[in-house]
Symmetry: C2
Subunit: 155 residues, 2 copies
DNA sequence: CACATGTCAGATGCACTGAGATTG
DNA sequence: CCAATCTCAGTGAATCTGACATGT
């Protein structure tokens, strides 16, 4: 296959790294930390998950995730539920309040993106939006095995 | 609801959010935290900066940045130097070891991206790479004023 | 019993607020 | 004297390793 040259791929990766330094910080600084936000995001996109699976996708250890879930549960953003299929495991799921956090940050980011897009041309905007489907496929290809439930937060 | 989540822009933002959950974690989990990595990255891309400016771009407070720089300096990844133009300020700059960290993580991410790109078609790859220039311009537009712009300091 | 899942306990890294030292 | 820049001190949240209780 005619794979893109290494330099083009390297330049693409660097562009993403630089862009993310901006993109990640578009919404207001949250009272929640980076990992906590990521946990809520993952749960809202992938449905209920066990601690072990969640720890693997977030790339932190189980004890860290246990206390993270403790805090999130105390704040009402997630909820623990026993796993009907396995007595030792529990499933963590996002609550309505948790979804609100994800949605609020998403909306805030959209606003910031909108302002950013005023700096480029219509053609460039089209180029960017054309990449949406590809990014969706890459995200799907890059994440670890599918969880138990296939829930989609649709708003 | 000021911003409809079903718009093309909303879908683009969501695709980026989901993709970043993968992209950010492509390289090995580092012994350095998220902020520390971001500081070294920023310094390697934008040249020496004062603590205040760095704290602003990283969206953390000055005391947090002071201790972050303390640790990074102790590990040999950055270096403090007096600002010749202002006696109370000091300039923080990345060292060769710091550049190695950035480069190593970049290379690792390129490898992961390369593997990911095998899941999509040539046409999709082209679409993605066409977005490189646009992302570069967006990153430039989104970051706060950049007084220094040196990049070929490969000590 | 061996293994998987989750939690507990102690140490360290990291960020915040509020106060202080130095320079412009 | 006042403002800007950075550092120090104390507090709280976040993560790690190692040990442990429970269920398969």
């Amino acid at each position: 296959m005619p794979t893109p040259s290494v330099s083009a791929l390297g330049r693409f990766a660097r562009a993403l790294e630089d862009f993310n330094a901006v993109f990640i910080r578009l919404p207001e600084p949250a009272r929640l930390g980076f990992s906590a936000l990521s946990v809520v995001h993952t749960l809202s996109r992938r449905g209920p998950m066990r601690i072990t699976d969640l720890a693997r996708t977030e790339q932190i250890k189980q004890p860290a995730l246990t206390s993270a879930v403790d805090r999130l549960e105390r704040d009402g953003l997630v909820r623990r539920r026993p796993d009907p299929a396995d007595g030792r495991a529990s499933l963590v799921e996002v609550t309505a309040a948790g979804r609100d956090v994800v949605r609020s940050r998403h909306d805030s980011r959209v606003d910031g993106l909108e302002a950013l897009l005023e700096h480029i041309t219509d053609e460039e905007r089209a180029t960017l939006l054309a990449a949406t489907t590809v990014l969706e496929r890459l995200a799907a290809a890059g994440r670890p095995g599918a969880p138990h439930d296939e829930e989609n937060d649709d708003d």
